[in-house]
């Protein structure tokens, strides 16, 4: 199959060359034809030869009439005829017509001789007097031999031109035959080209179909593997949860110190395994591209806190200092997937902790030009054990190491970040410090007027909410308007709560869903406010930070203070 394009290329080149040369030949043939046509358009010199013959006859007739004293013939009329004869014969001396006539008078015995004779008798003709009949007769005789000679010349010209025309016709016939052949060759070569390309494209189509089949097969195999992996992980997690539950029951039975330590180790291993299985599930989802990302408002501040919450216990156990810092320039709220970002950053920090042999790790969160940047910085010792940047950065070919269990966390993390459209970079500010820089595009959420929709069954509660939230840049949205609210407040309690929360979060996927009162299904809500409503607390609620200008009532609460450094040991 590999040979096909080369063969096609050669055949194509040959055909193109053939067509070009055929076209070239055609061009020259046509040009030659045009030249011949131009030749055919030249003066017909048979006419000129005949005219000389006729003019000589007229001159002789005039001489005879004068000699016999017939009609109006006079010396003047003889001279007129003489001048016309002179004019006619002198034609052979000039121009291309002259040259062509001379060609038929090769030995100069006809035209040249006639012209010489005309010149010779000039004096006699000019000085002809009435009554010079004898002189006229003598002149007549002088020209008599030329009658026959001119007749001969005319015949020579006639036959010569006829054969010239025959040659021309023959040439034209030949070149039109040639043109026909050329046209046939051109058509045939075009057909050949079409056949070659059709054959070629058919082979490519076959190849494409084969490739498609292969791709489908490999895709199917890969999906089967992922599905198997996901299923097995799920299947393994269930018994492991059972084991952990039993371990928790054993712990309640008053164990000795030694037994308790062993149990703790067993529990930790179990939790690790469940974490690993979760990672495998995520990895499979990423591989299949079916991982769904949320796009909801969250606070960068909370992200740092959440990573700290998950990572700090591990750091504490390993005896490593961990601190977080959020840059005050960050907007209070950004749009993104909070849980997945937290997962990605926790995985990265965990991998660093497990492999780099460091003693302190810091997490700095800052925002710039539509991006959320997280910098995980750590002290790197040259003997840093299994630290492999390529596992975080990706791009390296799959080695045995990249398939090790410790590679799973970084791989999931990298996959999540890439899925969010972000990127991971490595920076070494000094020999001893390494920074892993994660940047993910986020949209800062800041609005001039905060639109709030309140969905309370109780009119009194709704009125209290409105009174508590009323401010210059807060507007309440009625259910029947087209305005899309930034915040939806739902009265908590009862089955109604879940129905409302689900339908309204479907209707406004980007809105913050706030529960008014203690929710029975807290997972459905992004935030909550306590009932009875505390006016000063509600104004400090996170969702109220959405507005670009803080409401007047909370003006003293500066965002910078809100985003102050928060260290978690």
């Amino acid at each position: 199959m590999k040979k096909v394009p080369i063969v096609t290329r050669i055949v194509g080149a040959v055909i193109v060359a053939l067509t070009i040369s055929v076209a070239g030949v055609g061009f020259f043939v046509v040009r030659n034809d045009i030249d011949q046509m131009r030749d055919a358009g030249r003066e017909n010199i048979l006419w000129d030869a005949l005219q000389i013959q006729i003019e000589l006859m007229r001159f002789q007739r005039e001489l005879a009439a004068f000699a016999n004293g017939r009609g109006t013939a006079s010396p003047a009329s003889v001279n007129d005829r003489y001048d016309l004869l002179w004019s006619r014969v002198s034609l052979f001396r000039q121009g291309t017509v002259g040259a062509r006539l001379r060609a038929y008078d090769t030995d100069g015995t006809i035209l040249s001789a006639l012209f010489a004779k005309i010149q010779k008798v000039e004096d006699q003709v000019v000085n002809l007097k009435p009554g010079d009949q004898a002189k006229a007769r003598a002149l007549y005789r002088e020209f008599s031999p030329f009658t026959k000679k001119l007749r001969h010349l005319s015949q020579t010209v006639l036959h010569g031109e006829e054969s010239n025309h025959a040659v021309l016709r023959e040439n034209l016939a030949q070149s039109s035959n040639l043109l026909t052949i050329i046209s046939v060759i051109a058509v045939l070569s075009s057909l050949l080209m079409i056949i070659v390309f059709a054959r070629d494209s058919q082979q490519f189509r076959i190849l494409a179909r084969a490739n498609e089949k292969l791709l489908r097969a490999s895709d199917q195999a890969s999906r089967a593997k992922s599905q198997f992996l996901a299923m097995m992980s799920h299947e393994l997690r269930t018994p492991m949860n059972g084991v952990l539950g039993l371990l928790a029951l054993i712990r309640q039975q008053g164990l000795s110190g030694h037994q308790a330590r062993l149990l703790e180790q067993a529990e930790r291993s179990g939790h690790q395994m469940i974490g690993l299985l979760g990672d495998i599930l995520d990895f499979a989802a990423l591989q299949e591209g079916r991982l769904h990302l949320e796009n909801k408002p969250f606070e960068p501040e909370r992200l740092a806190e959440a990573v700290g919450d998950m990572f700090s216990p591990v750091a504490l156990r390993e005896g490593i200092a961990f601190s977080t810092h959020v840059d005050p320039s960050c907007p209070p709220q950004v749009l993104g997937d909070f849980a997945r970002l937290r997962q990605a950053l926790t995985h990265l920090a965990t991998y660093i902790l497990e492999t780099a042999g460091t003693e302190n790790i810091t997490l700095d969160i800052s925002c710039s030009a539509g991006k959320l940047n997280a910098e995980i910085s750590f002290e790197y010792k040259k003997d840093g054990r299994e630290w492999q940047p390529s596992l975080i950065m990706g791009g390296a070919e799959e080695t045995e190491n990249s398939l090790a269990s410790e590679a799973l966390g970084p791989a999931v993390s990298r996959g999540l970040i890439e899925r969010m459209g972000g990127q991971v970079r490595l920076n070494t500010p000094s020999d001893e410090r390494i920074s892993v820089l994660v940047s993910v595009p986020v949209r800062a959420l800041a609005v001039d007027v905060l639109l709030i929709r309140i969905a309370c069954r109780s009119a009194a509660l709704e009125a209290i909410c409105k009174a508590a939230l009323r401010a210059e840049n807060v507007k309440f949205v009625a259910p029947d308007t087209r305005l899309i609210p930034h915040v939806v407040m739902i009265e908590a309690g009862g089955a109604q709560e879940a129905v409302l929360a689900r339908s309204l979060s479907r209707l406004y996927p980007e809105a913050i869903i706030v529960a008014v009162g203690r929710a029975q299904y807290p997972d459905l809500f992004d935030d909550m406010i306590e009932v009875p409503i505390d006016v000063s607390r509600i104004r400090k609620a996170r969702f109220m930070q959405l507005a670009s200008r803080a409401p007047r009532a909370v003006a003293e609460h500066h965002p910078a203070a809100y985003a102050a450094s928060n260290e978690t040991p």
Partner: protein, 158 residues
């Protein structure tokens, strides 16, 4: 003395008739009914606005300078402004018909001189219809060769 006077008169007559013969008609122009509209002497033709045509043709060597009035001008001056065709006749009775539109399209002249020398009767003179063949490739054809009528003596328009 009395014998001298008639001799003197004869001389005067000779001069008079001689000038008449010098000023004889070179070109007559007729209308459709055969009525002579105009008789031009060579000096009449020379008195008309002259046009120069520098061209080659099959009857001369190389490119030559021809000079004379435009054919259409002569026609217009003879009342042939609306004529469709014109038939030209030469001293040897050779005839050719030309569409007047052709004379309006191309600057064809009734050449009276070539390279500054008057055309002689023993050459193509005194009047030779010249087409600007060097300027128009389509005129370099035997059809137009046959219209290069020389020793022109008569024009008849219809």
């Amino acid at each position: 003395m009395s014998k001298q006077i008639p001799g003197f008169l004869v001389f005067l007559f000779a001069v008079f008739f001689g000038s008449v013969t010098v000023a004889q008609t070179a070109l007559t122009v007729q209308d459709a009914e055969g009525k002579i509209q105009k008789r031009f002497t060579l000096s009449d033709l020379r008195a008309l606005p002259q046009t120069d045509v520098r061209t080659a043709n099959e009857f001369v060597d190389g490119t030559r300078d021809f000079r004379g009035p435009l054919a259409r001008l002569v026609l217009d001056r003879s009342g042939g402004k609306d004529a469709k065709t014109v038939t030209l006749t030469a001293a040897n009775d050779y005839q050719v018909s030309i569409a007047v539109s052709e004379l309006r399209k191309y600057d064809a002249i009734l050449a009276l001189s070539m390279d500054g020398k008057a055309l002689s009767k023993r050459g193509k003179g005194p009047i030779w219809m010249i087409y600007p063949m060097s300027q128009h490739a389509e005129l370099r054809d035997s059809v137009y060769n046959s219209r290069l009528i020389w020793q022109l003596v008569k024009m008849e328009y219809k």
